[in-house]
C-alpha cells in the first residue's frame, strides 16, 4: 500500500494586489525559502519539485517551470508542472504527495503561485473564442447563476452570503499573510457594497492577488527528524466531471460529493461534521460556503445555510471554516488551492498563530476549479495514520 507522507514545512508569501517588489522567481522563492526554513532543510536536501499554477496567460510566461528551475534550486532534479484550473493548488499538492506515497522520493518541494498583477485577471480568464456572442460575464458570471439556483432550491434567506463574507473578513484580520484586511468589516458595510453580479456584492467576492504557497512533503523516515511537528496525510483525492451534460447538478456537483466520500473513507471519517476540527474550503464567492457545506456532507441537502446562521462555521464555531480568511481574503488563483491545503496542515501542527483553532487534530483542505467540475481534497492529522 502507499507509504506514509507528512507535511514538514510550509511557506506563504504576503498576498497583495501587486507584489511589485519581486520578480516572478522572487515571489515563488519567498514561499519556497520559508517552507525550507520551516522544515529545517537546505535546497540540496530536496529530491524533486512539483509546481502548480493556473493559465500561463496571467503572467505571459509559458511553462514557467523552465524559467524557474534555478529559483527553486532544481538543476539536476525532477520538476513537473500541474494545471487543473482553479483546483490546481490542491491537485499539485496531491501529485507531490503521490511521489512520497509511491516511495520514489523522501523530500518533495511543492509550490503553487499566481502573479496576476502582471496582466489583468478578467482578461486572462476570458477565452477569446471567435463566432461567440458578446456574452462576456466574467468569472462571477459563471458562478452567480448557480448561486441563484441554490438560493431558489434551498430557500436560504437572502443575507447568508453577507454573513459568510463578514466572517471571512474578520478571520483575515487574524492572518498576517491575508491580502484584504477590512478593519471596519460590518454587516452593513458589506450589505451596502455595490452589487457586482446579482446576487453577489463587491465585499462578497474574492480579490485578484499576487502570491505563492509552498510545502515540503516528506516520507516517514525523513519526517522523523523535522524540527517542528509534521502534519500527517490521512487521505487525498481528486475527481473531475464534464462541464455541461443533461441532468448535471452544477449547484451540488457529484464530482465534489464523490471526492469527499473517497477522502473521508481513506481517513476513516464517518461523520465529517463531528470528526473534523477545521476546514479550509475554496470559497471565491461568499455563497459557495453553504453550498460546499452540503457538497462536503457537513450539512444535509438544502440546509448548508443553516450552519452559517447557527455560527457553526465561525472561528469559535462547531466546525470553523476558513479561519485564515479564505479565498475571499486572498486569491492568487493558482496558489489558492494549495493555501487551503497548507492552512489545514498549519492547524493540525498548531502553527496557525492568531487564527489557530484550539486543539485542532484533523483538518480538511479543499479546492475546486473549472465550472465547479475539478475537485481536489486532502485530510491531514496531527497523529500518524
Amino acid at each position: 500500500m502507499a507509504n506514509r507522507c507528512a507535511v514538514i514545512g510550509i511557506g506563504q508569501t504576503q498576498y497583495a494586489a501587486k507584489r511589485d517588489d519581486l520578480s516572478i522567481a522572487g515571489l515563488v522563492r519567498e514561499a519556497a525559502a520559508r517552507a525550507l526554513e520551516d522544515a529545517g532543510l537546505a535546497w540540496r536536501d530536496i529530491d524533486a519539485v512539483v509546481i502548480g499554477k493556473a493559465p500561463d496567460m496571467f503572467e505571459g510566461v509559458m511553462m514557467p517551470e523552465l524559467y524557474l528551475a534555478d529559483a527553486l534550486g532544481a538543476a539536476g532534479k525532477p520538476v513537473m508542472r500541474v494545471h487543473t484550473a482553479g483546483s490546481v493548488g490542491g491537485s499539485t499538492a496531491l501529485v507531490a504527495a503521490s511521489l512520497v506515497q509511491a516511495g520514489i522520493h523522501d523530500r518533495v518541494l511543492t509550490v503553487a503561485f499566481e502573479k496576476q498583477s502582471e496582466s489583468n485577471a478578467m482578461w486572462a480568464l476570458t477565452p477569446k473564442i471567435p463566432f461567440q456572442p458578446p456574452v462576456v460575464a466574467g468569472a462571477g458570471g459563471y458562478f452567480t447563476p448557480h448561486i441563484r439556483a441554490y438560493i431558489a432550491r434551498s430557500g436560504a434567506p437572502p443575507d447568508v452570503g453577507i454573513r459568510v463574507a463578514l466572517k471571512d473578513r474578520q478571520n483575515a484580520l487574524r492572518n498576517p499573510y491575508a491580502h484584504l484586511r477590512m478593519e471596519d468589516a460590518t454587516y452593513e458595510a458589506i450589505a451596502e457594497s455595490p452589487m457586482l453580479w446579482d446576487p453577489i456584492r463587491f465585499h462578497e467576492t474574492c480579490p485578484s492577488s499576487d502570491g505563492a504557497c509552498a510545502m515540503v512533503l516528506a516520507s516517514e523516515p525523513a519526517a522523523a527528524n523535522s524540527p517542528r511537528p509534521p502534519a500527517w496525510l490521512l487521505g487525498g483525492a481528486m475527481r473531475s466531471e464534464p462541464i455541461m451534460f443533461p441532468g448535471r447538478d452544477e449547484v451540488n456537483p457529484r464530482a465534489g460529493r464523490d471526492c469527499a466520500a473517497d477522502v473521508y473513507r481513506q481517513a476513516g471519517i464517518a461523520d465529517p461534521r463531528r470528526d473534523l476540527d477545521v476546514a479550509e474550503v475554496y470559497v471565491p464567492f461568499s455563497w459557495y460556503e453553504p453550498m460546499w457545506m452540503e457538497n462536503l456532507g457537513f450539512a444535509k441537502r438544502n440546509e448548508g445555510w443553516k450552519m452559517v446562521l447557527e455560527g457553526a462555521t465561525a472561528f469559535d464555531g462547531e466546525l470553523p471554516v476558513n479561519p485564515s480568511g479564505g479565498v475571499l481574503s486572498s486569491n492568487p488563483i493558482g496558489a489558492s488551492g494549495m493555501i487551503r491545503f497548507a492552512e489545514a496542515a498549519m492547524q493540525v501542527r498548531g502553527q496557525a498563530g492568531e487564527h489557530q483553532v484550539a486543539g485542532a487534530r484533523k483538518a480538511l483542505g479543499h479546492a475546486y476549479g473549472g465550472g465547479s467540475q475539478f475537485f481536489a481534497m486532502w485530510i491531514v492529522g496531527s497523529e500518524k495514520p
Binding site: 464534464p242 441532468g247 452544477e250 451540488n252
Partner: protein, 162 residues
C-alpha cells in the same frame, strides 16, 4: 551606484487561427439560416446544443443532427452590474442559461427587452435574430433572448439526477 528599475512593460501579441471543428461549424452554419441544430448522442440519446462533437458522459462522437425550437426556458441567470476588461455591452445586463425546447443542455446568452429585475428562473424566452442582411455563420446572429409572454415553465430545481 545606479538607480534600480522596478518594472518593465512587455507587449505580447500572438496571432492564432481558431478552427471551429466539424460539429461547431455545422451548428454555426445553421444559425445563418436562423436554425438551431444540436447533435444527439447515439448511446444516451441526449441532444447537445451547442454541440461539441462528443457526448461528454458517453465519450462517443455525436453525429445525428436535431433541429430544436428558438423558444426555451431560463434555467438560471445573473445580472452583470460591474464594468470590466473586455466587456462589449454596458452594464447592467442579464446573462442567462436558456434550455431550448428539444435540447437537453443550455445555451448561455443575453436576456433583453425586459427590466433586469423582472427576469426570473422558469421565464419563457425566444431568440431575437439579427436582420437578414447581417446573417452569417456565427453565434452572434442571435442578438439576445426576450420574454415570450407565455406562463413560466417549471424547472427541475433539484438538478434532476445530477
Amino acid at each position: 551606484m545606479s538607480e534600480r528599475v522596478y518594472g518593465i512593460k512587455t507587449p505580447i501579441r500572438l496571432e492564432y487561427t481558431y478552427i471551429a471543428g466539424r460539429a461547431r461549424s455545422a451548428f454555426l452554419r445553421a444559425l445563418a439560416e436562423r436554425r438551431l441544430v444540436g447533435e444527439r448522442c447515439p448511446q444516451c440519446r441526449r441532444v447537445y446544443l451547442p454541440p461539441t462533437g462528443a457526448c461528454p458522459t458517453c465519450g462517443l462522437p455525436t453525429e445525428e443532427r436535431v433541429e430544436v425550437s428558438p423558444k426555451g426556458t431560463v434555467t438560471t441567470f445573473c445580472v452583470v452590474n460591474l464594468p470590466f476588461y473586455g466587456q462589449r455591452i454596458q452594464p447592467p445586463y442579464v446573462c442567462a442559461s436558456v434550455k431550448l425546447d428539444g435540447a437537453d443542455t443550455t445555451l448561455f446568452h443575453l436576456i433583453q427587452d425586459v427590466p433586469a429585475g423582472e427576469v426570473r428562473m422558469g421565464m419563457r424566452v425566444e431568440a431575437v435574430w439579427r436582420p437578414d442582411e447581417e446573417m452569417e455563420a456565427s453565434a452572434e446572429t442571435i442578438r439576445y433572448f426576450r420574454p415570450t409572454g407565455e406562463p413560466d415553465a417549471p424547472i427541475g430545481l433539484d438538478g434532476e439526477g445530477g
